[in-house]
Subunit: 299 residues, 2 copies
């Protein structure tokens, strides 16, 4: 089955202590779509300007991503620039140019409205709601978010939460949303806002699922060197949704393994700037790291 993914499609200029890379393909939807494409057909919904490099269109196509929902409008593509500190955890935004993203209204082609799996990757919750309004009885809806929306669009986000099957956020955001320091106490409170599945991402410490079958402690794949963590969270949730969309059986049965696959795709994402590494791997590389993770966690 296919996954519809809406989110930002951007050009990222990323600076780390070791290197600087201008205008990489980035954005939550780009990372999530490429990650999901290893497992299932993907329909991308987003907007870019007429400055968007053709090579990135080709990149999407190489991953067999359906671009019928990608608007190309006169103007500039969303451009984000950020800088990481040497520990690769703290980053600061240097520049945000919204460009055509400022007035983005996702309108779904008819073929997209019946996609069974929907990933509302990080984007304004009003737009996430707007996309969901156009969907016809999706089987499973997941959304990601970021701290910005908790600050400036909380009512929209709370409205969205009631409509989700799964909500994915990082530990800082979970604390901000619930005022709980304890991740398990936070999970309990977030369930009360709507979603049956809540996943808290903890970067290199892995992630935690809380769902109908209890908790799952999902490890991160061990990396000796992180080149650029931008998009790792999007890759995680994209890989997870892609896996869920093609796995046989219920979401309950598959979601743990789906998280493991997402975690592995995220590990590749961190090993290169932007999508440089993720776009160079094959499904067999992913499968190998999943087997590694079994060995790394068995006791």
């Amino acid at each position: 089955m296919s996954v519809l993914i809406v989110g930002s499609t951007a050009l990222d200029s990323i600076k780390t202590p070791k290197a600087e890379n201008p205008r990489l393909l980035g954005g939550s939807a780009s990372h999530a779509a490429v990650a999901a494409s290893f497992f299932s057909p993907v329909k991308l919904v987003g907007v870019v300007g007429d400055d968007f490099p053709k090579r990135y269109i080709k990149l999407y196509k190489r991953h067999r991503i359906d671009l019928a929902g990608l608007q190309i409008l006169p103007g500039k593509t969303f451009h984000w620039s950020g800088e990481y500190e040497s520990n690769m955890n703290n980053r600061r935004t240097l520049l945000t140019e919204l460009g055509v993203f400022e007035t983005f209204t996702p309108t779904l082609p008819k073929t997209h409205q019946t996609a069974p799996f929907v990933l509302l990757a990080n984007i304004a919750p009003a737009l996430q709601n707007h996309v969901l309004n156009q969907m016809k009885r999706p089987k499973f809806v997941a959304a990601d978010t970021m701290d910005l929306w908790l600050n400036i669009a909380l009512p929209d986000l709370l409205k969205l939460l009631k409509r989700l099957d799964a909500f994915v956020l990082n530990d800082g955001e979970a604390h901000q949303l619930t005022k709980e320091d304890n991740v398990f106490a936070a999970l309990k409170k977030i369930h009360k806002l709507g979603p049956r599945y809540v996943i808290i991402k903890k970067g290199s410490h892995g992630s935690i699922l809380s769902g109908p079958q209890g908790f799952f402690i999902c490890p991160a794949y061990p990396l000796h060197r992180v080149v650029d963590p931008t998009g790792a969270g999007d890759s995680f949730v994209g890989g997870m949704m892609g896996y869920l969309a093609t796995a046989n059986g219920s979401v309950d049965r598959n979601i743990r393994r789906a998280m493991i696959y997402g975690s592995v795709v995220a590990s590749f994402c961190c090993e290169g700037f932007g999508l440089n590494r993720t776009t160079r791997i094959k499904r067999s590389h992913i499968n190998q790291r999943v087997r590694d993770l079994v060995k790394l966690t068995t006791f």
Copy 2:
């Protein structure tokens, strides 16, 4: 087989946002010894003053801890006082009164010198070396440490590292020792300092083992409420050593499961002030949480 444990034996006055508890039984050796006692016979080596409450001697004895190596000297017991912030991760020391600990020289009774398993819990590395000098061909030696010794006694610690089978430290200390932000890069550097097994503790994020059979990602048991994390790291390493001392087969074969048991004892430690909760559990409670952890990590 028995475990010899040397470290601090203290009275801890602990303040959290919710409560204040004066003069609890504490110290690295106390926590580690009680944790190990669930699995194997323990020989405690330490020093207390003549103000040391009789009820704490009784507590050790209830856990069948051999006290032949516990010196009771005229003077005051080591007293530490600390305060936790509401997130339970950041703590600051309010007071340190060394008392009889200031001139502590551990001298091992003959019966103790042949203990096959040795845990050098957190204490000055010169004293850890001094204890090791008295041991006769121990089967397995592990040591813990703290940031203080990295600052003021690094040469002693480096000398110790060459003599250890296993070294246990937390992620902040690993960074301080190696200057590596990445935990796996840090592990590699620490092996070069001596120990075959290196374990990095990450608090509520679990721990990582690096050993002859590769890495092991050890989860922390999920806790909805942390009352007092003091001694959790000591409980972890104590439980691990206790389990190793009685398990059949090689350390290589048992160390992962030993870490899981240590992790579970540490979880109980966090649920009460000082040793209040740990001293109220039975082996069956530990076994139940180990079974829970299997379910929480299976995919």
